[in-house]
């Protein structure tokens, strides 16, 4: 199924794992990874307390929600789509879970039932909303940016209506575990992040699902002709994005022991897209790297951390971050030979 004039590189089965193939896989991420290493070296010398376990833990904790959402976004972008609704979906799952475990009604009286039910229901609901995005994109053939704009606008309203627009505090030790628990000294959300990244990277690279995703984004018509179930793939990626956004929303509210429908997940769509773009995922689809997204998210976050810990003003920090994102995309463009 070779097609001319597209950026689609349908991955072929690799003969074996060699240094050369490793470089090829890491290709689009090399720049971001190099920048991350340089920045880390700089921080190791010039930023006080950078090389401590506490710093690492705090930074990984802060970046984990962005990574979770950005992994879902990477799949969506790989099919040539975009998901603007993730931040609002985080607010929705952040509203639903407390409503369930704070209700204290039968059969939800005991924590051991209420908390798991709350988690599962909240994530499932956002997964369904993701599926709704997917239906708009596939069944009704609406452009992804418009289709997900619907829930971007309406979703936060749903979250606010559920909580009457108010910040709500809660005390629920079992639920707080997913934000504050530390098995083996590693924060739970960091573990979740690593698991999700590992599974997603494997799925993108080594399963037929991953190849279908890339084929769909590379050249949809060619993929369809080659027998790829294009519509089903696109449905699934939007659902994945919704599920991961729901999980991220739960982590945010359990970290804060409170939920604020006005703030949970705000600007998350931008952060997630930026992480994917910096990591080397091509925004027109067809080429994506999950590990790159992880690197991109950590790089953007560490850049911000570096500037703030050196006392740079918040405004300047944002401007530098913006310039870095632009620079990364320009580099990516230059490598592709300007198309």
């Amino acid at each position: 199924m070779s097609t001319t004039g597209t950026t689609a590189t349908v991955p072929r089965p690799r003969p074996g794992f060699t240094p050369a193939s490793a470089f090829r896989i890491a290709g689009p991420t090399t720049g971001a990874a190099g920048a991350l290493i340089l920045l880390s070296i700089y921080n190791a010398f010039f930023t006080t307390n950078f090389l401590t376990l506490a710093t690492l833990r705090v930074n990984l904790t802060q970046v984990s929600t962005i990574v979770l959402v950005a992994v879902g976004m990477t799949f969506v972008i790989a099919t040539g789509g975009i998901d603007l609704s993730v931040g609002s979906l985080m607010a929705i799952s952040g509203a639903i879970a407390p409503l369930i475990f704070l209700s204290h009604q039968w059969p939800l009286g005991s924590d051991w039932i209420a908390v798991p039910v709350a988690i599962v229901v909240a994530i499932l609901v956002t997964g369904l909303f993701g599926l709704f995005n997917g239906v708009l994109v596939t069944r009704f053939e609406i452009q992804p940016i418009v289709a997900t704009l619907v829930l971007f606008l309406g979703g936060r309203g749903i979250a606010k209506a559920l909580l009457h627009g108010e910040l709500r505090h809660f005390k629920e030790p079992h639920f707080d575990y997913i934000g504050t628990g530390r098995p083996f000294g590693i924060p739970v959300q960091v573990l979740l992040m690593l698991i999700v990244v590992a599974v997603a990277a494997w799925a993108m690279r080594s399963t037929s699902f991953g190849r279908y995703v890339l084929a769909t984004g590379g050249n949809e018509n060619a993929a369809r002709l080659a027998g790829v179930p294009v519509n089903r793939i696109r449905l699934v990626v939007y659902a994945i994005s919704g599920l991961l956004a729901g999980l991220a929303g739960l982590i945010v509210i359990s970290l804060n022991s409170s939920t604020d429908p006005n703030l949970v997940g705000i600007n998350m769509e931008l952060n997630a897209i930026a992480a994917a773009a910096v990591g080397g995922t091509v925004l027109t689809g067809g080429r994506a790297t999950v590990v790159g997204t992880l690197v991109g998210a950590v790089l953007v976050h560490q850049l911000r951390y570096t500037l703030i810990s050196h006392g740079v003003a918040d405004g300047t920090t944002r401007m530098v971050t913006a310039a870095a994102i632009l620079g990364a995309v320009l580099l990516q463009q230059a490598r592709r030979g300007g198309d």
Binding site: T6, G80, G81, I82, L84, L136, F140, E141, I142, Q143, P144, I145, V146, A147, L149, V150, L151, F152, L153, G154, G155, R156, G157, I158, K160, A161, H164, G165, N219, E220, N221, I266, L270, I273, A274, A277, L283, T284, G285, A313, D314, G315, T316, T317, R318, M319, V320, T321, A322, A323, I325, L326, V329, L330, Q333, G338, D339
Partner: protein, 334 residues
């Protein structure tokens, strides 16, 4: 933006469908206005209600106007909300020097951002989406710096607040400015070579380039127009709020896109009209105005959070209708 889907040679859609797709927002606007007149009587048609509603929609109107031009070329401008905030802070800082300096300063900073957007997009062929997204971040940062992380109050005595608050006869000045902007936009779109280039580029960039159209220059100008509109909106916003805040106008870029879509401009580019965007803005504004009246009548208990849900649902409705109406005409995917 891959335009790979083949054009399915369907029979041309009937005239009325085309009319509905292009002018649907105007029809709906008229219907909603008649409903309001019939149902809410005196208070609804009071000049206070009408002019205040229009005044409060001027900044959406201006931003959506610029966005329409960008979208016609197949692009998108996510930076407009942040530009409006940056311009509001700039205007507030310049407000002691009077109405002209404050307003022109705000417009100037908008144009500057637009030129940067347009140049990067046209010269380096980076997707508009990611460029303007980065610019969103950058402008918020610049606004924070310029305001020293606090609200900047507007000078009351210099006359700057006239830009948003003055009335000429019964008509608020910002409404007049917006109407003039739309008239100029319509002329630019309908009667100049630049206007024809817009649709040509949105319809097929490569073909336009081959036909010798100044694609890059047109794009730069389009983003500059969008920046100028957002800048003007920021000045009006600062004058109405008496302050310039770096936290103004969050999420407005997407509300503006929604208004443009409701107006019937296709996000794929190559089709659109300035006038129907105004219909889209007014339609959304009028619907929320009437919801307020309905709430006052006590018909239903409607908290304000429902506004956002209704906005989303309404966008969904419009998008689904358009998908039906333009299925045979669509050629692009994203």
């Amino acid at each position: 933006m891959a335009a790979t889907a083949p054009v399915v040679a369907n029979r041309p859609s009937p005239r009325w469908m085309l009319l509905l797709q292009q002018q649907g927002a105007t029809f709906a606007l008229i219907a909603v206005a008649i409903l309001g007149l019939a149902r809410y009587g005196e208070n609804f048609r009071s000049s206070f209600n009408i002019w205040e509603m229009l005044r409060n929609n001027t900044y959406y109107g201006l931003i959506a106007l610029g966005m329409t031009f960008v979208i016609m070329t197949g692009g998108i401008d996510l930076s407009v909300g942040a530009v409006a905030a940056l311009a509001a802070v700039t205007a507030a800082r310049l407000s002691p020097h009077g109405i002209w300096v404050g307003t022109l300063g705000a417009i100037g900073i908008g144009i500057l951002v637009g030129l940067i957007n347009g140049t990067i997009i046209a010269r380096f062929k980076v997707q508009p989406f990611i460029v303007t997204l980065a610019m969103l971040l950058g402008c918020r940062g610049a606004a924070l710096n310029l305001s020293h992380n606090a609200n900047v109050s507007v000078d009351f005595r210099s006359g700057f607040i006239d830009i948003g608050q003055r009335n000429i006869g019964p008509v608020p000045l910002p409404v007049i400015i917006t109407v003039v902007a739309y008239i100029l936009g319509s002329i630019l779109f309908n009667f100049t070579r630049f206007g024809r280039h817009l649709l040509a580029i949105g319809g097929g960039e490569e073909a336009s380039r081959l036909a010798g159209l100044p694609v890059d220059r047109t794009k730069v100008v389009v983003y500059a127009i969008s920046g100028a509109c957002a800048g003007l909106a920021g000045a009006i916003l600062a004058s109405l709020a008496y302050t310039g805040s770096p936290n103004f106008a969050i999420g407005w870029e997407l509300s503006a896109i929604a208004a443009v879509i409701v107006g019937g401009t296709l996000l794929t580019g190559g089709r659109g009209s300035v006038g129907t965007t105004l219909s889209g803005v007014l339609l959304l504004g009028l619907i929320f105005n009437e919801l307020n009246f309905e709430r006052a009548k006590g018909t239903f208990e409607l908290t304000q959070y429902w506004e956002e849900i209704i906005r989303g649902a309404f966008l969904l409705l419009v998008v689904l209708l358009q998908a039906r109406l333009s299925r045979s005409q669509r050629t692009n995917r994203m």
